[in-house]
Symmetry: C2
Subunit: 586 residues, 2 copies
Amino acid sequence: MNYSKLFPKTRREDPKDGSSPATKLLVRAGFIDQISRGIWTMATLGLKVRRNIERIVREEMEKAGAIELELPILQPRELWDETKRWDKYMHAQIAFHLRDRKNVDYILAPTAEEVITDFARKNVRTVYDLPITLWQMSPKFRDELRPRQGIIRGREFVMKDAYSFDSTKEGMLDSYEKMDAAYNAVFTRCGFNFIKVEADSGSIGGSGSAEFMAVTQFGEDTLLYCTQCGYGGNQEKAKAFFQPYINRGRDALQLLETPNVKTVEQLEVFTKIPASKMVKTIVLIADEKPVIVSMRGDLEISEVKLAGLLSATSVETAPFDVVERVTNAPVGFAGPINLYGKTDVPYFFDYSVEGLQNFLCGANKQDVHYIGVNSGRDFPEITEYKDLSKAIAGQHCSNCQEGVFEEKHGIELGHIFQLQQVYSRPMKATFKDNSNEAIPYWMGCYGIGVSRIIQAIVEQNYDDRGIIWPFALAPFKVIVIPVKPENDRTARDAYNTIREAGIDTVLDDRDVRIGEKLTDAELQGWPIQVVVGRSWESEQKVEVRWRDTRSYDHALFSVTKNSLPSALLTSEEFITLIKKLQNQKN
Amino acid sequence: MNYSKLFPKTRREDPKDGSSPATKLLVRAGFIDQISRGIWTMATLGLKVRRNIERIVREEMEKAGAIELELPILQPRELWDETKRWDKYMHAQIAFHLRDRKNVDYILAPTAEEVITDFARKNVRTVYDLPITLWQMSPKFRDELRPRQGIIRGREFVMKDAYSFDSTKEGMLDSYEKMDAAYNAVFTRCGFNFIKVEADSGSIGGSGSAEFMAVTQFGEDTLLYCTQCGYGGNQEKAKAFFQPYINRGRDALQLLETPNVKTVEQLEVFTKIPASKMVKTIVLIADEKPVIVSMRGDLEISEVKLAGLLSATSVETAPFDVVERVTNAPVGFAGPINLYGKTDVPYFFDYSVEGLQNFLCGANKQDVHYIGVNSGRDFPEITEYKDLSKAIAGQHCSNCQEGVFEEKHGIELGHIFQLQQVYSRPMKATFKDNSNEAIPYWMGCYGIGVSRIIQAIVEQNYDDRGIIWPFALAPFKVIVIPVKPENDRTARDAYNTIREAGIDTVLDDRDVRIGEKLTDAELQGWPIQVVVGRSWESEQKVEVRWRDTRSYDHALFSVTKNSLPSALLTSEEFITLIKKLQNQKN
């Protein structure tokens, strides 16, 4: 392609709404263009990157035996009513929806479990039609409260979604494993530094789900990752291991006057007792009903874990009047003594409290706390602990019980779910087994944020010159740059040679100075620059420059201060290099 | 591909909502599946056909130098307010629209003039950036009053839309010609029997537009086509040539009592005068103001032509009270005498009246008409005639003035428009010319109904066995069918040979009877069937069957009664045939 045909041109100024380095670079380099809050145009170059991603995804889906189709964007409410998700989504205000001229409600595809289950129940009748995995690549929509970070969290985006249908739970697990492997292959081929973490199933439902996360400084998700065993989890979901507390014997229970001292921080200052020796007691509202949770003072409640435990749609902190009604005390003074075992309100203890002795807690009375508290003596023995606190860096990993969690930030690239029968059962989506019984399908669903990958890979691959595209995703692998007008013909010959080898190449045919050409090439991040100039005239060599200083061929290339790795190559060496590139061409 | 991986399976029963042969065939053959009114799923096979169409379109767009991008589906109202199209579209109830959580209005892309013009004005600054043509392939939406005929008139569909930007009107015409040529190439390569007709610009606006129409019995558009010169027009827009009337001298003007005789039909019976010797006078409301039109009694008003003449958004028949107020007479008795030249209401005469002598018309009085009426004597001379009547079959063509119109039915495949400056002017989308003056772009826009092509081509290519795919669009060009299980291995060898030649091929690997395999193959319309059976065992020959009985190779194939054209081929002949196919492969 001729560079002059690229549109729009690069910009020197940062966009106003550039909330991360990658957003700024993609806009300045002419890959994407914002039209409204969270709504973006894919310019030619952005679209070419997306097609490269789509090709990789399609190849891996085909290898996994999944069948492609395309479901509509407008999904009728009646299907969403069957699973009761219409009300949930409307309540959460997360979906775009509209009424047609006949006052029928439609939702703009945020995901497609209902639609695909409907398609399956019309077409999959017997056990012989199973297993089957169907998938599509298509626009999806979310009315985000805070669209941000360019196309990482847009309101309109392209998602690949796949859905597996099996006749047994074991089959479901097999299909899930296959997709897991396919996702690993996709993100590896894209060139990501990624980790897989345990995740919450959220509004999709089912149980058992994992996220694939690109690790980056600007990731909006907080992850905990065990460097010892590789286990990772979203902060909301990761499970820490609490090493047993040493039994030091029980102190006497004492009342402590704490006038107007309510929060953990205030108590630490007032009592000099560390937060890890306190038990805080929190009242929450889960699906409109109160719940009590006691946990160690230095930890935070995970509302996601509590929602999962209760199968609740919504969990939030209780208003003051509810706290006071439940605990008979003002906010800040709740505690298990005279409450646990004596209230009708469901009451849970977090694992962090298991075995903790001689702790401080509220006395359910204004301005008073207890110290030297011990369960089984001061309130009934706790028979079962639950995982309800957010994991934090430094805690032990629950998987290997040895490694220690590190905190990382990540961008979600993909999410896989074991849906069990949560869609097929209410939708009566069944097959006939050998004994002619109607059995709901065992389902899984699997998403990849295709358009956000364009930006996520840039978050991992840029420097102060601009973008550094990994070879597989680069819209053009090579740019050929004539230094002066007299090099135009030779440059076009080089361009044709490379193109004929089947490599996506662009020729910078602009009538601008070499400095501007190189600056644009570095901003736009083509992996390889072929510069045709003086060395061609003097010794019939082209200069080959490598955009990614981390991955160049050390044997061939040299680096001087402030420059890209480069080599002067003859025609023969140049052709050898092209052949090497061709093999790399994914 | 293995046939057993295709999904969904073929069906024997017609769908309930099969309003045309092609809809029924596409559903039964497993290409598309309806989910809601006018909303369809593209199954694997339908998607494969669409990709073939998309590839042809993309290649022709690239040849024409157009640049691909992808605009969002959610378009903010503020852009549509700039051109005042928001109100027009809301009034017409034709667009889906929604509000986000912040009460901002969005329209679901029915077309993208505003969005692309906004993109251009942000990025095209000088005359050196022009001309440029941008295009996209993306979902579009229309809240059709009556979705019908499967995916011909759906509410969600894929459209290719292109937009050209030029610095001069001549440039705009050049860009328009280029797209015209590209469209001809696209529809020819797809295998259509199509004609190009003059069309109305409708809600898109501008002036100068043409439609590309697939001629079929089930087309919803009525076209007039001159077999002599090839001129064609949509019925609403086609212009007829009226041969000059012979001057027969003027009769005396007479009043005729016509008690309760109001309509043209009633007058023909009552007076024995043919409708072509009557002038009827109609009152309409254009953008809320009355307009009078007089035309020959045997013709119908074209509201589209009147709207074009007046640049009106809406034109409709006037209610009775308006007719009576304008003509001072009850409905059915209007006429030009004492009205034309004496009223403030705009008054137009259709070409059909030019030179007509001694005609009958209403007298603007209850139960009275005039006969022997002549313009210039009985009412003021008409200085200018307008084209306001719908053309009909049998009229002369206005282009060659010799040929005669035939009526055809068609499905719109594409539509090209000269937009002039109707978008760029209100949106202040300008470039700086050499003298630094800001000039609005000269624009064109160009649409292709990509998903409806899937069905339109079937409307032109089927028989009582099923679909007959043209080679270029067929999802698989060849199906290899083993007759019995013992032929499976040979069949797979044949399948591999064909696939290695680069031809999309499917192997019928099902464990079903040969009759079912052949019935499905004919329903699904693969161009070529390779049947491996007894003749392979006895004489090492495969049977090659040709789906399209109209286009087979007469030298090679023979046809017996009730069969497809077929030939028994040896391996060598078979490979020669594959090579021939490979060359045909578009």
